[in-house]
Point group: C2
Chain length 195, copies 2
C-alpha cells in the first residue's frame, strides 16, 4: 500500500502540480482510505516529500574505501532523486511552505534532515577511522556542504547540474570537510601526507 | 528616489509580507509614480530582490591579501543582507516564483547572478596571481560553493547561521576551490607548499 500511495502521489504531482495536489485525489486514485494515508504521513507536504525526494530512508551509506567515494555514491543517489521532474515540481513550493509552517519545518528537521545527517556522521566516522580526516566534523555542516549545495544549485540558483557538476561538488565538499577537520584537530602547518 | 523606493519596499515587506506587497502600495507611500518604479525594476519581484538582498551592485571585492580573506569579506556582507528579516521574508516566495516564471528567472540569471559571479571571477584571478591557486576555477562553481551554500543554509535547510558558520563555510569553500584548481591545473601528487 505504501508503494501505491507514493507512486500515485508522484503521478499526480507530475499531472496537476504540487499546489493543486490533494490527499483526497491520492486516496481515490490509489484506492485507499484517507485515514490510511494520514497514519503514514502527517501532511500532504510530507507525503509528497517522501514520494519524490526522500524515499522514506536515506540511502544506506556504502563503504567505498574513501571519503570521496562515499560522498560521490551518496551525492549521485540524491541527485537522481532531487533532479527528477516530480521533485523539481515539489521543491520550491515545499521551501516556501517550510518558511511559514513551523510545525512542518520541525517535522522536516527532526525526521528527514536528522536521518540524512546521520548518514554523514557514518561517512565521517569511517574517514576518521581510515586516517583520512584529522578528526570528526559536524555532520550537519558536512551535509550542508554537499546536499545543501546541491539543493541550492537545483532549486535556488536553477543551474544545469550534470554528473560533472555533482563530481565537482563532491571534490569540493571532501576538501572542505578535510580542511575543517584539519583546522579543528590537525597539527597546524603539517598536513597529513596522502598514504 | 531610488533610495526612497527601496526603503519603502523593505518597510512594506516587513509589515505586510512579500506575497501581499504591491507596486501600487510602494508608489503611494514613497510618493512616486508607478511608471518611475517600472522604469527601474521589471517587476515587483525584482524591486523586492534589490531592496532586500542585492543592493543593486554586488559589493566591491576588496583585496584582503588572501583567498580566504577575500571570501570572508564577501560572505559577511552577503550574510548580513541575506539574513535580514525582509530578505528571509522574500527568499522562499522568490524561490518558488523563479521556478514557475522563466522570464523572471532569465532576468535573475543575467543580471544579479552574473554580477555576483563576476565578483568571484575577480577574487579567483587575484588568488591565481598570488600563487594561491594552481589555475582558474569556474566562477559559477565558486559562487555556488559559498553563496549557494549560504542560501541553502538560510532558506532551504533553515539552519541557524552565525558568524562561526559563515567562517566554516568560507574555510570549506576556499579548500574546495583550491582542490578544484589543483585537480584541473595542478601537478598530480605534488600539492603546492604554503609559502
Amino acid at each position: 500500500m505504501d508503494h501505491r500511495i507514493l507512486q500515485t502521489t508522484r503521478e499526480l504531482i507530475e499531472e496537476v502540480g504540487y499546489p493543486a495536489l490533494t490527499v483526497d485525489q491520492v486516496a481515490t486514485r490509489a484506492g485507499v482510505g484517507k485515514a490510511a494515508i494520514y497514519r503514514r504521513y502527517a501532511s500532504k507536504a510530507e507525503m509528497a516529500f517522501v514520494a519524490t525526494m526522500h524515499d522514506r530512508q536515506p540511502p544506506p551509506s556504502v563503504d567505498t574505501g574513501s571519503l570521496h567515494g562515499d560522498l560521490l555514491a551518496l551525492a549521485r543517489t540524491f541527485h537522481a532523486r532531487m533532479a527528477a521532474p516530480a521533485a523539481r515540481q515539489l521543491a520550491p513550493a515545499l521551501i516556501s511552505e517550510l518558511a511559514v509552517n513551523p510545525v512542518l519545518d520541525a517535522r522536516f528537521q527532526d525526521t528527514f534532515l536528522a536521518a540524512e545527517q546521520a548518514t554523514f556522521a557514518e561517512i565521517i566516522e569511517r574517514a576518521v577511522a581510515r586516517g583520512e580526516l584529522a578528526g570528526t566534523v559536524d555532520p550537519a555542516m558536512a551535509h550542508l556542504l554537499l546536499l545543501g549545495c546541491l539543493a541550492s544549485a537545483l532549486y535556488v540558483l536553477c543551474l544545469p547540474v550534470d554528473d560533472a557538476v555533482v563530481t565537482d561538488l563532491v571534490t569540493a565538499a571532501a576538501a572542505g570537510i578535510t580542511a575543517l577537520a584539519e583546522r579543528d584537530h590537525g597539527v597546524s602547518g603539517a598536513p597529513a601526507e596522502p598514504s
